[in-house]
């Protein structure tokens, strides 16, 4: 009986709405409920990552150099804040903040570990990874634990740092000396 009712409803909706008609046609053709946006299919064979040469310097320095180059991170942190007003610091901080975020997103694709809101009730499963969860407060008994979410955590879903091909002498350089030549006139 219920199916009959659905069929009648569908008949009228298809008749009056172009969008519904399109959706139903698609449903009939494909036999499955269409997803709102189909996930792009990536080729199965992955491109080979170029092998980095022998590491002449630590990747940590490369990261620092990237943050400095693209976001002026080291300049910002190394500058004493004593003589500046909050507004002055804020003016520079906005740009540094925005550009640092861009670098972190591109190199590490950082996402929240849990997508619940802070303060919501969460469950820590049995056999959880101690690196993934940090428990505080009254920890007693056995998992699964229930508690209040204090921080959703962060996770790097990728780690693609630039490769360094420079000289040994340059390995410790976070930002090169900049010298501007005047045009001869």
């Amino acid at each position: 009986m219920r199916r009959l009712w659905t069929a009648i409803r569908a008949f009228w909706r298809v008749l009056v709405s172009r969008d519904v008609a399109e959706a139903v046609e698609e449903l009939l053709d494909r036999g499955v409920v269409p997803k709102a946006t189909p996930e792009p299919v990536a080729p199965k064979v992955e491109p080979k990552r170029p092998e980095p040469k022998a590491r002449a310097r630590s990747e940590a320095i490369t990261l620092l150099a990237t943050l400095q180059r693209e976001a002026r991170f080291v300049d910002f942190v190394k500058e004493p804040l004593g003589g500046y007003s909050d507004a002055q610091i804020g003016a520079a901080a906005r740009d540094v903040h925005r550009d640092c975020a861009k670098v972190l997103d591109r190199l590490f694709a950082i996402v929240a570990v849990l997508d619940q809101e802070d303060g919501s009730e969460v469950e820590v499963p049995a056999g959880f990874d101690a690196g993934r969860y940090r428990l505080s407060g009254h920890v007693a008994g056995g998992p699964p634990f229930r508690g209040r979410l204090v921080h959703h955590g962060w996770e790097a879903t990728r780690c693609e740092l630039p490769a360094w091909t420079g000289s040994v002498a340059g390995a410790g350089i976070v930002a090169p000396v900049e010298v501007e030549m005047k045009a001869e006139s």
């Binding site: 080729p43 080979k48 170029p50 150099a65 910002f76 520079a92 540094v96 630039p162 490769a163």
Partner: protein, 597 residues
């Protein structure tokens, strides 16, 4: 046998390579991460390769500073590092090579870039610069797929629809010199955007579009705007896509918007008594690029702060910033580039003064909406300007929803009767859509999927000196003879009926060459009387040479033209002897300086 199809978007500001395996049943399109120098001695893989070339001074290249994973000992760099150098060392940085390719007033094989650079800087030609960008992409591909080198794959390279036969030929030469295969296919960028949409939509496109629908493809990139009209026709009961018209080459794009904003903000700084030095001005341009999206997105605070960071190590102390009125700036950009124009409006054309500096012919009118109105107006289908039923947006500029809305709103007003044009978005990711579309096209070509038909986007004409009384001191009037009509299909050829033309043996014969994207009525053999400059534009002349050693007895051979569009969409023009069997191919003489206005 090719295993992959490579779709290459050789852009004015960024290049992208997308690829798909040919044997898959479903198109599985991936983007090639392109390792590139982001700073001296630092290589990072990114999905976009900025189309810039930095020609290093010999003192900078020590210690492998410019090495790539697949090449060492280099003295130049392509990509992110080169883009950055554009502001630091402009004399040694080549940018915008693609816009130069379409510019027939200069010799595109001559080493002229960086434009206006001092004498000691090594220079390259626009063709060489384009070759270098492609070589970088090929190097990245071959390193990632060492078993399947790029020269053995199926390759689709995109060009602006507005590129004429000469600019396409130059692009092809650059591609072959870079090591791409001979059977490389050139695809028009707006069509690639449509293919990107088809790749997303799959077979469902036949539900979205109906017979008689017209898609306006509006592709606004960093430096150029490209317009195309695609229609939905019927063939044996099945819907097919047909390219109806393409617009002219417009040198206006997102970069102009960034500059306009930077100019406005620099004015605000000046008002506050802060004058910016050249370095700060460039930094401001970059800040404005970053701020543009925030300023154009709906919502957000009324005031937005734009800062120019201090250059030296005293970052905070030297930073200058200013509050800009969000609404005011958004209006400046939206009304400046997408003003509320009427359908009858036309772009303003500034009268060229007697002496015009050579250099890129940037548009005098930056109002994209007026260019759209002119485009629709010039493709009158008999019942008024062409009326699109859908608008397909492409190009990074259209990430700003307010700009998409403005264009849709105007179109709805221009055509008040019936349903207003509906928007389509090429792909969720506008930066890579053209390359993805090119890869999809290559895949569907093998698989027999949907194709956009259309043939040549332009009609071509050879300038013929008219017979008649010679007036001393005056050149004989030149009349354009149509040799290729608009819409001539790939893989066809045709003899051009005309009077006989005499070619002198042993001498180079040169013909002035013209094209038109609007004169649909002309058929091969038509000799035009009077044509307005708006309709016909001159491109590189064509030349051929009859070797003296052939078995020709007379000194002059009568010929007629014979036009051919190859399977790969390249135009070939031949001179065929009317009384002998000889056939001589005409070549573009791009080394020749372009003719006058």
């Amino acid at each position: 046998m090719a295993k992959w199809v490579l779709g290459i978007d050789l852009g004015t500001t960024n290049s992208v390579l997308a690829y798909a395996p040919l044997e898959e049943e479903q198109p599985a399109i991936g983007l090639l991460p392109v390792p590139q120098l982001v700073a001296a001695g630092t290589v990072e893989a990114r999905s976009m390769l900025p189309s810039f070339l930095y020609l290093a001074s010999p003192h900078e290249t020590g210690g492998g500073a410019f090495d790539l994973p697949w090449a060492s000992g280099r003295d130049s760099a392509v990509g992110e590092l080169a883009r950055g150098k554009g502001s630091e060392v402009p004399d040694r940085t080549v940018g915008g090579a693609k816009s130069w390719l379409a510019h027939s007033r200069v010799d595109r094989h001559e080493a002229i870039l960086p434009w206006n650079a001092p004498a000691e800087v090594p220079k390259v030609s626009p063709v060489t610069a384009s070759r270098r960008y492609l070589e970088h992409l090929i190097g990245a591909w071959d390193a990632a797929f060492p078993e399947d080198p790029a020269r053995e794959q199926a390759v689709v390279l995109t060009v602006p629809a507005s590129f004429d036969a000469s600019a396409r030929e130059l692009t092809r030469q650059a591609a072959l010199a870079a090591g791409l295969p001979e059977d490389l296919v050139l695809l028009e960028e707006p069509q690639a955007a449509v293919y990107a949409w088809l790749a997303e939509t799959g077979d469902r496109w036949r539900r979205h579009l109906k017979l008689g629908d017209k898609l306006l493809v509006c592709d606004v990139g960093g430096g150029t705007t490209d317009l195309t009209l695609v229609g939905v026709a019927q063939e044996e009961g099945d819907l097919v896509l047909e390219r109806i018209a393409v617009g002219n080459h417009l040198l206006v794009g997102g970069d102009n918007m960034d500059l306009a904003l930077a100019h406005h903000v620099a004015g605000l700084f000046a008002h506050k008594g802060v004058s910016l030095d050249p370095w700060q001005s460039v930094a401001l341009w970059h800040s404005c690029r970053a701020a543009k999206e925030a300023l154009l997105s709906p919502g957000g605070p009324k005031k937005h702060s734009i800062a120019v960071l201090g250059r030296g190590s005293r970052l905070i102390g030297k930073t200058v910033s200013i509050e800009v009125d969000r609404q005011g700036v958004a209006d400046l950009l939206v009304d400046g580039f997408f003003p509320r124009a009427a359908l009858a409006d036309r772009p303003e054309r500034r009268r060229a003064s007697g002496f015009r500096e050579i250099g890129l012919p940037f548009e005098a009118d930056t109002a994209i909406t007026r260019h759209v109105a002119a485009f629709l107006g010039s493709h009158d289908d008999g019942s008024g300007p062409a009326r699109p039923t859908y608008v397909l947006f492409n190009g990074g500029v259209f990430k700003a929803e307010v700009l998409r809305q403005r264009l849709l709103e105007l179109l709805a007003g221009w055509f008040p009767e019936g349903e207003p044009p509906r928007p389509l978005v090429a792909a969720p990711d506008l930066d890579h859509a053209v390359a993805r579309g090119a890869a999809y096209y290559g895949w569907s070509k093998r698989r027999g999927g949907v194709r956009i038909r259309g043939g040549t986007a332009r009609a071509y004409y050879v300038g013929i000196e008219t017979a008649g009384l010679a007036v001393p001191g005056a050149a004989r009037p030149l009349r354009p003879l149509c040799v290729v009509p608009i819409g001539m299909e790939e893989g066809t050829e045709a003899a051009v009926p005309s009077e006989e033309i005499g070619l002198v043996v042993g001498e180079s014969a040169q013909f002035r060459f013209f094209s038109s994207s609007v004169r649909k009525q002309d058929r091969p053999g038509d000799l035009l009387e009077r044509v307005s400059e708006d309709e016909l534009s001159e491109t590189d002349s064509m030349e051929t040479m009859l070797p003296a050693d052939e078995a020709i007895e007379e000194g002059c051979v009568p010929v007629r033209f014979h036009a051919k569009i190859t399977e790969l969409g390249m135009l070939e023009l031949w001179c065929a002897g009317t009384r002998s069997a000889g056939r001589w191919k005409l070549e573009f003489s791009v080394r020749q300086q372009g003719q006058g206005e």
